[in-house]
């Protein structure tokens, strides 16, 4: 550790006389390849559960700290849409709801749609908005879209509370088949998270994707059977439709289970389940594959 001695003169004193030349490139067998180990990924995600909660909490607190009406906004938005739909579709277009009060009918669809569009819009930007952080701290990156979905779930929970009030107000009781809600919920979450994963990482690489979001949101609310029943779509198209947009089958399923006392259509729900699984797994793989380059492009 003493003073540097005379042979350090040219700054290369401690190197061997003949420094091995740097090769042209890395040995081909050591080229980096993304290997996904499901067990390890799951463990990491589980370890990050506090982070998901903290991020969601941050968004919720930050959102409502400045807003005078606070959590009331989570209720007001779907209620306002519900009122518009009632005016337009119920009064003007005369949608046949099969004897169920139209606001209730539309509100069930709106809850699902709001959940999806919130998660998609916030989730898609969740990585891009946190880039400076992603560049410095390691954490499993899928927690960012996951946290936005958690925030949307809180909103949905509030919306469900309002649904209860609507049931009371319209003197309707939820049907006994309401337990069917659980598998439908799983489909809804899987599909929504899959879409959020794909979009979030796509936005980092291609800023243009950002501009797609409002288009998807605006078209989606009409392309999905939110204001009208799935029956409006021709029967032979329904299967393809639910394959592309599992939300259609999910909303239809909720209505049957909660409002009509029927089990969801097995065929369509099955298709939606498979489709949403494909979205989830495919989206996850896509995300994990592109995730490795985020720090390079950011």
């Amino acid at each position: 550790m003493g003073g540097h001695s005379a042979q350090v003169v040219d700054g290369r004193g401690t190197e061997p006389a003949a420094r091995p030349a740097v090769p042209e490139g890395p040995p081909p067998e050591l080229l980096f390849k993304r290997r996904l180990r499901p067990a390890q990924t799951a463990r990491e995600l589980w370890a990050a559960r506090e982070l998901v909660r903290a991020l969601a909490e941050r968004d919720l607190r930050a959102r409502y700290k400045q807003a005078v009406l606070g959590f009331a906004w989570a209720v007001l938005t779907p209620l306002a849409l519900c009122a518009i739909f009632t005016l337009v579709f119920h009064r003007a277009v005369k949608i046949d709801t099969g004897g169920v009060s139209y606001p209730l009918f539309a509100y069930v669809g709106l809850i699902v749609w709001q959940f999806f569009s919130n998660t998609m819009n916030q989730g898609a930007l969740s990585l891009a908005n946190n880039l400076s952080l992603l560049n410095k701290v390691y954490c499993p990156r899928e927690v960012f879209p996951l946290a936005t979905m958690l925030v949307a779930s809180v909103d949905m929970l509030i919306g469900v509370g309002v649904l209860g009030v609507l049931f009371l107000a319209t003197w309707t009781a939820p049907a006994a088949t309401a337990l069917w809600v659980l598998p439908l919920l799983a489909i809804q979450f899987a599909f929504t998270y899959g879409v959020a994963l794909i979009l979030s990482v796509a936005v980092v690489y291609l800023r243009d994707v950002r501009h797609l979001l409002p288009i998807i949101t605006q078209m989606g609310v009409f392309a999905t059977p939110v204001a009208y029943p799935l029956a409006r779509i021709p029967v032979r198209m329904q299967e393809i439709y639910c394959g592309i947009n599992p939300l259609g089958a999910v909303i239809e399923g909720y209505r049957r289970a909660l409002l009509y006392g029927q089990a969801p259509d097995a065929g369509l729900t099955g298709i939606a389940a498979v489709s949403s699984l494909v979205f989830l797994v495919g989206g996850y793989l896509f995300f994990k594959k592109l995730e490795t380059g985020i720090a390079d492009v950011a």
């Binding site: 003073g3 890395p26 990050a48 700290k65 400045q66 952080l133």
Partner: protein, 397 residues
């Protein structure tokens, strides 16, 4: 595939990393353009290597300083150790919990209070809620936030915001601590606290990798130095040797860009010891200079000695009268206070009075000289080596 390494080990084998050379925007039309170029059989994209064939093995408890000029790949390497970035090729293996001491102001949410942000940071860095709670008082104390902790962060000064993020990171208890240029953060007092904290962590046996341009700070913390140059390891040795090599190379570069067109220039210089022998600590030293140039008049000659280029040790000056011919001047220092090592001699000449308004020969490093003699006593681990002077002394008991 590999044997089990102890927690705190860092291993990189044949690590390569490349970036796109023209990566500026990420718009669809850029992608379309580059795709079209590739279809037409062009080169597609330009890549440049950021790191080439990095092989490092760092044992648990070692403290390593990463030095090198801008763009040499230090931060890229650190990012890959943090797992934020992935290599193009090679193996990176960091055992144990990784802590990164970095400025993470970016993650601060302005609408939340300091307290809420501390918990959020903790979660980001992998701490459990109750772990943060246990360290909460230390964190607030370290960041010197006091009563402001329950205020919204947007009402903090920028310094307070920085300290907040930093303090949380400082109270992780990792096996490996990665530190990137922290000393640019905060005021002098806070910098000192950060260094103290790093020393404390080093004492506890944590592996430390420290990236900084503040060479004395690196020297005060690290035992081993890795000097990166253009993406390769130039020197991997004891911190003193690595720093000396790095400083020499900076000097060589600054000497290469020598000034011209000044009225005076240094024709010759010689630094000798007693009887024209080698220089020895605590013995006389003679500096002889010959100045050339056609300037006439009074001027002040300044001489200085530094360790490396960035740590000046002493400076002396003398008035001379220039006659237009070559001017010879000698200076004797009866007892040289420098310990063994390599030093740089600096010289400059400035006119006296209001004549030409200043510089005759600007302050520049004239060259280097070696001193032989006793080695400075090694300070206790983790004490700043800011005192480069040899003081003759005698111990009594």
């Amino acid at each position: 595939m590999s044997r089990e390494y102890e927690l705190g080990t860092i291993r990189t084998e044949h690590v390569w990393k490349r970036f796109k050379a023209d990566q500026q925007r990420m718009l669809l039309r850029d992608k379309v353009e580059s795709m079209a170029r590739r279809l037409r059989g062009g080169r597609g994209e330009d890549w440049r290597w950021a790191l080439r064939d990095i092989n490092l093995h760092i044992e648990p408890g070692e403290s390593v300083g990463l030095i090198g000029s801008n763009g040499s790949g230090k931060s890229t390497l650190l990012k890959m150790l943090t797992r934020v970035m992935y290599p193009y090729g090679g193996i990176i293996d960091v055992r144990g919990r990784i802590g990164a001491l970095i400025e993470i102001r970016a993650g601060i949410h302005p609408d939340l209070t300091g307290r809420e942000n501390v918990y959020l940071f903790g979660a980001l860095l992998g701490l459990k809620r109750r772990e943060v709670a246990a360290r909460f008082d230390d964190i607030v104390e370290f960041a010197r936030l006091g009563g402001a902790i329950d205020r919204q962060v947007k009402f903090y000064s920028s310094g307070m915001q920085m300290r907040l993020g930093f303090a949380v990171a400082a109270y992780l208890e990792p096996h490996v601590l990665l530190v990137d240029e922290v000393l640019a953060v905060g005021d002098a007092v806070f910098q000192q606290r950060c260094l103290d904290r790093m020393r404390e962590v080093a004492e506890q046996g944590t592996t430390i990798v420290f990236v900084s341009h503040d060479l004395p700070a690196v020297q005060s913390i690290c035992r081993r130095g890795v000097w990166l140059e253009q993406g390769t390891v130039r020197v991997d040795a004891g911190i003193k040797d690595a720093l000396a090599g790095y400083r020499d190379s900076i000097e060589a570069q600054s000497e290469a860009s020598a000034r011209s067109g000044e009225p005076l220039h240094l024709l010759k210089y010689e630094v000798t010891g007693e009887d024209r022998e080698n220089l020895t600590t605590d013995e006389p030293m003679t500096v002889e200079l010959t100045l050339g140039g056609d300037y006439r008049g009074d001027a002040t000659l300044h001489l200085g000695v530094s360790e490396g280029t960035s740590s000046p040790i002493f400076q002396i000056s003398h008035e001379i009268r220039l006659t237009g011919d070559d001017h010879h001047v000698a200076c004797v220092i009866p007892r040289l206070p420098l310990p063994r090592g390599r030093y740089t001699l600096w010289a400059g000449v400035y006119s006296i009075g209001k004549t030409d308004g200043g510089t005759l020969m600007s302050w520049h490093s004239a060259g280097q000289f070696d001193v032989f003699g006793p080695v400075l006593d090694t300070p206790p681990r983790a004490v700043v080596l800011a005192a480069p002077v040899f003081v003759p002394h005698r111990w009594e008991e």
